[in-house]
Amino acid sequence: MKSHRWFTPWALVLPALIWLFVFSIWPTLNTIRLSFTNTKPLGGGDFVGFRNFVDLFKDEQLGYALLNSAIYMVVCLPLLTIGPLLIAILIQKKLPGITFFRTAFYTPVIASAVVVGLMWTWLLDDRGLINNMASSLGFIQGPLPFLTDRWLVLFSAISLTVWKGLGYYMIIYVSALGNVPKELHEAAAVDGASVVRRFFNVTLPSLRNTIVLVSILVSVSALRVFSELYILTGSKGGPGGQDMSVVMLIQQYARGFYGDLGYASALSIVLFVVTIVPMLVLVRINRKANDQ
């Protein structure tokens, strides 16, 4: 019954394998190699052992960046996993004017990150809309330093990420909700289950894989945040560089004629490890739940 030669499957997957090797495996291996060198864009390349990794421990900005990333993920994960789900359920209802809300929630997704960042900069400026309104209503005496205080900058950026991400993850949930069998809801309703009970006993179990997927996507993008902090801090990472993310730090060291590609590669490896850990944890939690 064999209807093809031995190499046919390999020929079919070859383009994908080449793509994977050229754009994923080779760059990854090269980054690991570079992290042990002093490579510059126009020279260097000598083996320096673990010097770049030793320097990482002396870099207090990396400490700030890792802390920022951790906070970013801890805050974004629940907000962007649960919030879009609730909105998705809400906009599924056939209510008057619901199309407006569907559009309104999705609009931030299609707006450029740079444009959104600039808009928020104008909103949060010391003479921006929010400070002016709060001041004219008598809530504050002086402007709140949204763009210069170490923590306010971070939480302003998190707000921006959440605002922009709600619509994106909402769409994923909307499509998953369409796959939840109506019969289950109807059967539960016939059995007298309330709306809340149906949500917890029918909707949530049906969406578990989607929720894990969204959690992974949120975690990874939160740990790799760049645009929001870059724009809100005018590219400098705030006073003392305390509002930098790891990606900003990589960009700071890798750019330009003098880019320190060895050190930036060592930072990239740290980011890779930091990113993969929560992903593995979430996958493991999901697998355990499936086994049960």
């Binding site: 864009p41 020279g43 400098k236 705030g238 003392g240 560089g241 330009g256 004629f257 003098y258 320190d260």
Partner: protein
């Protein structure tokens, strides 16, 4: 003899090729070889605005050297350093390339540029000293580009704001101390609504204050002095007292110029051609902006034309770079846009030294006069990442989170670590 001729010609050709492969031997004089063939010229964000000018210059070159053909490539303004970096890395640098001195330094270090002093012994007779020294670097022997056009900064004041808040628009600050004092008056008289200062200090301010930035060997920074800390303290106190907008801690390069254009602050620095831009972007500034000379040492901004050391047509490349940067062509360019020629003979052109009485023309004349004393205020060894680190620490000090000396020490430590990595 005739039968040996092909062999001798081949030997001669091979010798010339070997000489051409000499990389940095660079001992040829212009004129020793025929100037002919195709040569590429890369400019930075000059088209379409100056396409006609560039075409005229190229046409003139091709007419002067029959048999030459110039291929013009203009790169967009954004991402130029990345573009040049890619060209350099892949060995496709154009024959003649527009580079500012900070872009030229890393290329010169890697032997990718021609030492133009080895091929032109009239450099010092032709170009102003400041323009030439911008392409001479510590630890490298040579001149790594022909200076092209120059610019500097002057001060711009919003006299409407000064006059309305107890200051004299005809007598704006002339020193840094006066600047801080008038910033206080403006702030207090306006009930905290107006600002004069809107930028935090940087390396250039340290240089203006006479503080050395780099050690003699260029391998470490030495700006973390008590003098620099005292300067930072002035800014810290001004920030604390509300004389600067809080977002100044995040500002980017165009920060104070943007705020000035928006009418949010009363002082900025800018090139000699800034008044028309201010008035175009914000017509309410019309008639209110006056220019004064730089407070201390004016900065010197230099653009240059470098020749690739790997150029396959070096004689034509050198001739083209000299042609574009000669007094006549630079003079024509400076009449089109407010830049200044780097050629000594252009100084006698009254166009640069005589004002027609308008504020914009006054500003141009001030800038031209400022060039006499202008200098490079930021060593080219201090790259973007190092500037960012210094900027972050200065922001921390101005905010009052750490002492000025501590911030400078921390910045110096990090920058020295980066310099030690080579």
């Amino acid at each position: 003899m005739r039968k040996y001729a092909p062999g001798l010609a081949a030997l001669a050709a091979a010798s010339m090729a070997l000489a051409g492969c000499g990389g940095t031997s660079q001992a040829k004089q212009p004129g020793s070889e025929a100037i002919a063939g195709e040569v590429s010229l890369q400019t930075w964000s000059l088209t379409p605005k100056f396409t006609d000018y560039l075409n005229d210059v190229i046409k003139g070159f091709e007419a002067k050297y029959p048999g030459t053909k110039v291929k013009l490539v203009d790169q967009p303004g954004d991402g130029y350093s990345e573009k040049v970096l890619t060209q350099a890395g892949s060995g496709t640098l154009p024959d003649v390339v527009n580079l500012p001195p900070d872009f030229a330094l890393p290329l010169a270090r890697q032997d990718m540029l021609l030492d133009v002093s080895a091929v032109d012994d009239t450099l010092h007779d032709t170009y102003v000293a400041g323009g030439l020294s911008a392409f001479e670097y510590k630890g490298l022997n040579g001149t790594w580009g022909f200076p092209w056009y120059l610019n500097t900064d002057v001060n711009y004041w919003n006299t409407g704001k000064l006059n309305a808040n107890g200051l004299d628009g005809k007598n704006p600050p002339k020193t840094t101390d006066e600047l801080f004092e008038q910033a206080r008056i403006l702030h207090d008289k306006s009930g905290g609504q107006e600002y004069l200062l809107s930028r935090k200090p940087g390396v250039d301010d340290f240089t203006r204050a006479g503080i050395a930035i780099l050690a003699e060997d260029g391998k470490s920074v030495v700006f973390n002095t008590d003098g620099a800390a005292a300067l930072l303290d002035k800014y810290r106190d001004a920030y604390k007292n509300g004389y600067m907008p809080p977002t100044v801690l995040n500002n980017d390069y165009l920060g104070n110029s943007k705020l000035f254009t928006e009418g949010k602050v009363a002082w900025t620095t800018g090139g000699g051609n800034s008044i028309p831009s201010f008035e175009k972007d914000n017509p309410s500034l019309e008639g209110k902006v006056v220019a004064t000379p730089s407070l201390d040492l004016p900065p010197l901004y230099v653009q240059g034309l470098a020749v690739s050391s790997k150029s396959k047509n070096r004689p034509a490349a050198v001739a083209l770079a000299k042609w574009v940067t000669n007094a006549e062509n630079q003079g024509k360019f400076a009449h089109l846009v407010n830049i200044f020629p780097s050629t000594k003979s252009s100084a006698s052109d009254p166009y640069f030294s005589m004002s027609d009485g308008t504020p914009a023309s006054d500003a141009k004349v001030l800038a031209f006069k400022g060039l006499e004393t202008a200098g490079n205020l930021q060593p080219y060894e201090i790259n973007g990442a190092m500037s960012d680190i210094l900027s972050q620490q200065i922001a921390l000090a101005i905010k009052g989170d750490v002492s000025s000396k501590q911030a400078l020490d921390d910045a110096a430590e990090k920058i020295n670590l980066m310099l030690s990595r080579g």
